[in-house]
Symmetry: C2
Subunit: 344 residues, 2 copies
């Protein structure tokens, strides 16, 4: 049975400002190579032998860029759900589950702004998790941790349920550094990467138990939805009245039949300019460069130039991002400062 | 007798790239404040009780910007000589001397891309030098040195000719550091700032002796010049055939009656971004900033933003210049690298 990809593209993050903006958030930008992360997410599940037509959940403001990127990917069968407002992931996935052609369809829910370098490992994890998902388990993908990161939630993995899949023992909120180091030392913990595999009806049933308001408002929004070909616009007032909550809080942390499939698949949430530097291809001086950039005696810099030329001499370990109307310069390691700039 | 200002505006320097470009060289840019250095040069000699209508010598390519800046300065009586090509200062001054209404007019020759903070000191030096200039001396202004700079020529000052004016003992080419330090220690040396006071006929007579080819070709170019109101275009072929030489080499270093009027007048040639940082107004963190710039935890930077916004966190002692299509970043103290970037 083929899997139905659900691609969540409602994010409008500010952590990659000034490239990422509310008008064109990071998932639609070609930040890591030739293609956007939205496009790479589509490509990852574009084998129609294994995957059905995808369901895209996106903000209404981004209908044009979604259309354009679907077209350039050659995808004509996607369903696009245009959210009238952002209500976090639990309602977004509810819309997709209600829109699925088959109530028992297995949904592969993916953020559209993450990078997965080892797609084969991703597919292997999906294949390992599929029987349990079909059997009614809510499966989350556990990212093999590479460092004691404090910016991610963690999953403590419990007993084996099948070859490659374990019961979730518990979810751990973003930890302090010491706690993160302890989990890495202990092993048997994964990062919570926000990728899920479960049946549409099973998810909706879990919502009915754990978050009935979300289910009710999502159903109301879908009953009142307007359609235009592959595009569907849920009814605005009903969706606006839906509680905003993440799928983790609303469902995964509350349900009893939750499994994790650990996957070492070169995952990155590309959550900061520092993260982008880490995954970027370095020149012989350790610079990660894109666009029209001239470097002289410069080492370890991340430089992105869009719409202008950047000329640099004699500086090291800087993040330099230029996008035509904005330039941001700060040292590597301080990319959390970006939010302050992005707000003003 | 009123003095005729001659403003040399033929420069197209690259040392303040990317702001200064061949299309709009530094003298026409408001780099040091509200007004361009060309405008500030005009304003310096705009008192019609002391100064006649100025003669501007500029490149033909810059006729429009000259016209516009004359208009904004409210100057309607300037003569503008538009050079068909650049031939350095000796020919440019020859054109102006030939264009002067009175052959015995005293010309005050000034570059248009220098800054003089103490205009009263400049005027005092001019008043001190005027009798000698009227008497046939070629007078150069000696800038009181503030450091053992190796980027300027020096003048060794000789016997006093009058109150405040001395005979030039000799001109010294741009020195090595040790020689510069020795001259500062010895005293009695000035920088050669490229400002001159002499009679038109005396300059043309000196050219006839020391550089007759320059005089002949300048005369030919002026005889064939086309006129349009206050604008005059010297004949192209004749002027192109004129040897390119500086007034220092062609005349000042060869003539016998050459004087220097030392002047401590807050002079800067604004010859580099480092120079501009030095003369700029600093904020409490030592930053010199203009344009739409946001600074956070940044110290000792020169930041100029034109046509875009620059946001900076946590960097120190950088030169950051952004002009809409180009951004240049390098450490303070290395602004000589600019030429490499400007060429490409």
């Amino acid at each position: 049975m083929a899997i139905t990809p659900v691609i969540l593209s409602g994010g409008g993050g500010t952590r990659l400002w000034p490239m990422s903006t509310p008008e064109c958030p990071k998932q639609f930008l070609a930040l890591t190579g030739e293609h956007s992360m939205f496009r790479l997410t589509l490509d990852r599940v574009n084998d129609r032998a294994s995957f059905c037509a995808p369901i895209i959940v996106s903000g209404a403001a981004h209908a044009d860029v979604v259309t354009s990127q679907l077209a350039s990917a050659g995808i004509t069968d996607a369903s696009v759900l245009l959210e009238p407002c952002a209500r976090n992931t639990a309602p977004a996935i509810a819309l997709a589950a209600l829109a699925a052609a088959d109530p028992k369809a297995v949904l592969l829910v993916m953020p559209s702004d993450h990078l997965i370098a080892d797609v084969a490992a991703f597919h292997a994890a999906t294949n390992a998790a599929l029987p349990l998902a079909q059997d009614g388990w809510l499966v989350t993908y556990g990212i093999t941790p590479s460092a004691p990161e404090t910016g991610f939630g963690y999953i403590r993995m419990g007993e084996a349920l099948s070859d490659g899949v374990q019961r979730v023992d518990r979810f751990v909120e973003k930890p302090e550094r010491v706690a993160a180091e302890a989990m890495l030392a202990e092993g048997n913990h994964s990062w919570n990467g926000g990728i899920f595999l479960f049946r549409a009806d099973r998810y909706l049933g879990a919502l009915a138990v754990h978050a009935p308001d979300i289910l009710a408002k999502a159903q109301e929004a879908m009953r009142g939805a307007s359609r235009d070909g592959h595009y569907m616009r849920p009814q605005s007032e009903a969706f606006a009245a839906c509680p905003a909550d993440s799928v983790d809080y609303a469902v995964m942390e509350k349900d009893d039949r939750v499994a994790v499939v650990p996957a070492d698949m070169g995952w990155s949430d590309v959550g900061s300019w520092d993260a982008l530097y880490e995954i970027g291809a370095k020149d012989e001086s350790g610079n990660v460069v894109s666009g029209n950039v001239r470097l002289d005696a410069a080492n370890g810099n991340l430089v992105k130039a869009d719409g202008m030329r950047v000329s640099i001499h004699g500086v090291s370990d800087l993040i330099i991002i230029a996008n035509g109307s904005e330039i941001m310069i700060l040292p590597r390691g301080s990319s959390q400062k970006v939010r302050d700039f992005a707000g003003g």
